[in-house]
């Protein structure tokens, strides 16, 4: 399932770049993230808890950041498995100065399998968008914008 979107953030490209590379910011802004432990440079062990429809799943997996071109681009890869099946996601983030703020463009490709796919697939697009929306809203707040 492919998702994409844009957000305007009230800070310079450099500040936004720093924030989206800050494990602390990622930890507090990623919805459902229970644990984020650095296991190497730009590699984290993550535990995510996500519920869709009647199904709640805890996924244990890895999150890694690659293809970094500071301060405008990186790729983020997420892989997790749990009782509700597996999820595999790949996304990219591109930053562009826009006035005093930053235009953040993101794309994502999410694959899920097992229980969540069977029961929640129809809702997945909507839920995915909502979760990503929550993530950026949180970033915006951290960067001092009005929510």
């Amino acid at each position: 399932m492919k998702l994409e979107g844009t957000n305007t953030l009230p800070a310079s490209v450099e500040t936004v770049w720093k924030t989206i590379n800050d494990p602390d910011a990622l930890r507090s802004c990623t919805p459902g993230l229970k644990e984020l432990k650095a296991t190497g440079p730009d590699t984290y062990q993550a535990t995510l808890q996500i519920g869709i429809a009647a199904v709640k799943g805890t996924y244990a997996g890895t999150l890694s950041i690659s293809d970094k071109r500071a301060p405008t681009h990186y790729k983020i890869t997420l892989e997790g498995t749990g009782g509700a099946g597996f999820m595999k996601g790949e996304g990219s983030v591109d930053l562009e100065a826009q006035g005093s703020g930053t235009l953040l463009k993101w794309t994502g490709d999410l694959q899920v399998g097992g229980l969540i796919a069977g029961v929640g697939q129809r809702m997945l697009g909507g839920v995915g968008k909502m979760l990503i929306g929550q993530f950026f809203k949180c970033l915006e707040e951290r960067l001092g914008g009005s929510a």
């Binding site: 498995t81 749990g82 597996f86 097992g114 796919a117 069977g118 029961v119």
Partner: protein, 777 residues
């Protein structure tokens, strides 16, 4: 025999218990110290298993065992291959638990046994499995194409079989034909959705060395025989009981599903009885499915609409494994010619592995496909030749004086497709009359003038039923005068406890309520193959009749001694045995039974064996062919695509009817299932092979509210192939429904020139077709 009960519309012996909640289903089996199992299933359509670690699961509270492939020993090999075929080059079956790879979402990977199902399910989350996902072959056409991801690496191809059957000279017929029409016809996946999903309870008694299994299966005897071989036990040391079964419809006739081996194994290892009940979500991925085929079909006719030849080249989706061989595509190809004279016919199929749940027969088992293709071709020809659609059918029907009619094909039982009897024109005529075909156009115009879109569909079929190899029955008169009979053919709701009792009642002069029928218990009767292919009434019913007849003769011999008369003077009626014309010289049947089992003194030699008991078998040389015609009137709302069913008429001929109430029930259920498969039910997989319809929120079953009152007309042309004259009726209802609905929808939407070439439809799909038609108009 008199026919007081056989043929009568009597209510069913099994219903009081079933309707009052006193049935005994597998989940009703409660044993002391019962443990509960849950199955860990693959979330991937295709992946390599890198590593499985059950340590955390085993350490969890209440967990008794965690089995993976490594624990299975000799039981870890591929499960038995049923029904091999020379054309089936790659006969792949799954392992009870996957060892190195998983090939569909839902494939069993580990079994957890715990003190409760709750604990077992929780422990599933604690099994660590590392998968290396592989590309999946999902869409049937893609899987068949060169370069597709391979479901079975070692096969080197996804094609497991290619098979061709031919009648006459098709090339010549097509070359010389004045008119030819060609279509691509697509049928998608569905699932049988029985009320009761699968379930297994197993108990091992180490002192008696007895393995007892309660299994929601259609084939308890083959399961018993297979388990005995696998567990190295004498067949008499394994008892398999199929108690009340809440619907089978074909998918429960597997030998084996993994759980049928894993649960007994766990019970034996733990020394405790173990229960596994499939939940609905599991059922959507772990119980066999059916129906996906793509036909490229063509028909050749002369200008008057007479069929000169038909050919179809089709793809058949086998799913990830093909335990059941090629039965479904063979049935599809051999059902296709139907009630029509098709002098030249070419049928060629390619069976293809995909990374989806395995396929095995589901009610109809290929027949709906064959009928859909033939009827769609005739509809196309009728329209383009300007011939009325009932008339083009009439012109091609095999006539009543042409039986036995040899179609020229080889059926699923490896015997020739030879229609034994029937009156096809009469069935079509009666259906047309019942639905009001003659003035349909006038009716339709009236509706259309009012802005409503109604359509009529009419479709014919012939159904192969009642195939061998054999079934048997033992009939015993108890000293109480009640009769006990046992047969290997289990019941999943078909009414065996009544239909068989009716046959016995007439032979022995008792009432059906006096006859207790035991089915599906290997300890009660150990020979048989199972309930499938619309064969119980034909094959087991005849065995019941032969055994009851033998008991009647024995009763006469014994009573002749007791009543001092000749055996041919003895009659049986009203639970009594008496000398003809002298009803005062009578004995209760039970007294004769008691006398037939003396405690002392010599037993007369002519009695041959003690008791009033006989066992008989019936082995038909080939199947018998039922037939019928469905006609329906539907309304389509072109703005929403929604369909409503106004009328549904069924005229069918299953030979002599044992109990019209039961046959009508079978027809009603079948048509409902057919309508589901025609308009509501569809299994959807995403591009990675993830099933997206695994709840009844997404997989829509028709409910009573969606269905009209069915109007049934019985025609009865007895078959000469068995003494009862009966033909099968179990699958009939489902067979022509897709074809009839397609034609009716097309007829309703004639102003839009919509063409239907696929099954199932849905409101969304009908809406799309109307929108496309509007755009191109």
């Amino acid at each position: 025999m008199s026919t007081r009960y056989t043929g009568a519309r009597i209510t069913r012996n099994e219903d009081p218990a079933l309707l009052c909640g006193r049935g005994l289903f597998v989940d009703d089996i409660h044993l002391p110290r019962l443990a509960h199992a849950a199955v860990l299933r693959s979330p991937h359509a295709h992946a390599r298993i890198v590593r499985i670690d059950t340590r955390r699961a085993r350490a969890a509270g209440g967990v008794l065992a965690a089995l993976t492939h490594a624990d299975l020993g000799a039981l870890g090999g591929p499960l038995p291959r049923l029904i091999p075929h020379p054309a089936l080059v790659h006969h792949k079956t799954q392992q009870a638990l996957a060892s190195t790879a998983v090939r569909y979402v839902g494939e069993a990977v580990a079994l957890i046994v715990a003190e409760s199902r709750y604990a077992a399910e929780d422990a599933l989350d604690l099994v660590d499995v590392e998968y290396a996902p592989l590309p999946a072959a999902v869409r049937l056409e893609d899987a068949a194409a060169p370069g597709a991801p391979l479901v079975h690496e070692d096969a080197g191809t996804n094609v497991c079989a290619r098979y061709t059957q031919r009648v006459g000279d098709v090339e010549r017929a097509f070359a010389g034909a004045p008119r030819r029409f060609r279509d691509r016809l697509v049928m998608d996946r569905g699932t049988a959705s029985p009320l009761e999903a699968r379930g297994v309870v197993a108990a091992w008694d180490p002192r008696a060395r007895l393995l007892e299994i309660w299994d929601s299966t259609q084939a308890p005897i083959p399961i018993r025989n297979g388990l005995a071989a696998m567990f190295g036990l004498p067949q008499t040391s394994v008892r398999v009981v199929a108690p009340d079964v809440g619907g089978g419809f074909g998918p429960k006739v597997m030998m084996f599903y993994p759980e049928e081996i894993l649960v007994p194994l766990a019970a034996q290892r733990l020394g405790r009885p173990v229960k596994w009940i499939e939940d609905r979500r599991e059922h959507f991925v772990a119980t066999n499915q059916e129906r996906e085929q793509i036909h490229d079909a063509e028909i050749a006719l002369d200008e008057t609409g007479r069929i000169l030849g038909v050919r179809t080249v089709f793809l058949y989706d086998a799913g990830a494994y093909c335990p059941y061989g090629l039965i479904v595509p063979i049935v599809a190809g051999t059902t296709l010619p139907g009630p029509y004279r098709v002098p030249n016919y070419h049928c060629e199929f390619t069976a293809v592995f995909t990374n989806k749940t395995p396929v095995s027969p589901y009610r109809g088992a290929g027949r709906p496909h064959g009928v859909f293709v033939m009827e769609r071709l005739l509809d196309r020809a009728a329209r383009d030749l300007g011939i009325d659609r009932a008339e083009i059918r009439r012109r091609n029907l095999i006539q009543p004086d042409e039986f036995p009619y040899d179609v020229g094909l080889i059926y699923q039982d490896n015997a020739p497709v030879q229609y034994d009897s029937g009156d096809y024109p009469r069935c079509l005529g009666r259906a047309a009359e019942m639905i009001g075909y003659a003035d349909w156009r006038a009716q339709q115009d009236t509706y259309r003038a009012a802005g409503r879109y109604l359509g009529l569909g009419v479709a014919c079929y012939v159904e192969g039923t009642g195939i061998g190899p054999y079934e048997g029955c033992r009939v015993t008169v108890e000293p109480s005068g009640k009769v006990f009979i046992a047969t290997g053919v289990g019941t999943q709701g078909q009414g065996h406890l009544t239909a068989f009792a009716q046959i016995v009642a007439d032979h022995l002069g008792v009432t059906p309520r006096d006859v207790t029928v035991r089915t599906g218990d290997t300890a009660a009767f150990g020979w048989g193959t199972g309930t499938f292919a619309s064969r119980a009434a034909v094959v087991a019913g005849t065995a019941v009749s032969l055994a009851a007849e033998a008991v009647r003769e024995k009763t006469r011999i014994v009573a002749a001694t007791l009543l001092e008369a000749r055996p041919d003077e003895i009659e049986l009626a009203d639970g009594k045995v008496f000398v003809r014309g002298v009803p005062a010289r009578a004995l209760p049947l039970g007294e004769v039974a008691a006398a037939a089992n003396p405690l002392r003194f010599a037993m007369p030699r002519e009695w041959e064996s003690p008791g009033l008991e006989a066992t008989r078998y019936f082995a038909p040389p080939r199947g018998t062919f039922s037939n019928g015609v469905h006609a329906c009137i539907v309304e389509i709302d072109p703005e929403t695509g929604m369909l409503s069913l106004h009328r549904y008429v069924i005229v069918h001929d299953c030979g002599r009817v044992l109990n019209p109430l039961i046959v009508e029930g079978q027809i009603h259920g079948g048509v409902a299932q057919g309508l589901g498969g025609a308009f509501w039910e569809k299994l959807v997989y995403d591009a990675e092979g993830q099933p997206l319809t695994t709840t009844f929120m997404d997989y829509l079953l028709p409910t009573a509210a969606d269905l009209p009152c069915f109007e049934v007309g019985h025609e009865t042309t007895p078959t000469p192939l068995n003494p009862l004259g009966v033909k099968g009726a179990g699958e009939a209802g489902v067979i022509p429904v897709g074809a009839a609905i397609a034609q009716a929808v097309e007829d309703a939407l004639r102003p839009f020139r919509v063409r239907i070439t696929e099954m199932p439809l849905s409101p969304a799909r009908v809406w799309e077709l109307v929108a496309e038609a509007r755009r191109s108009a």
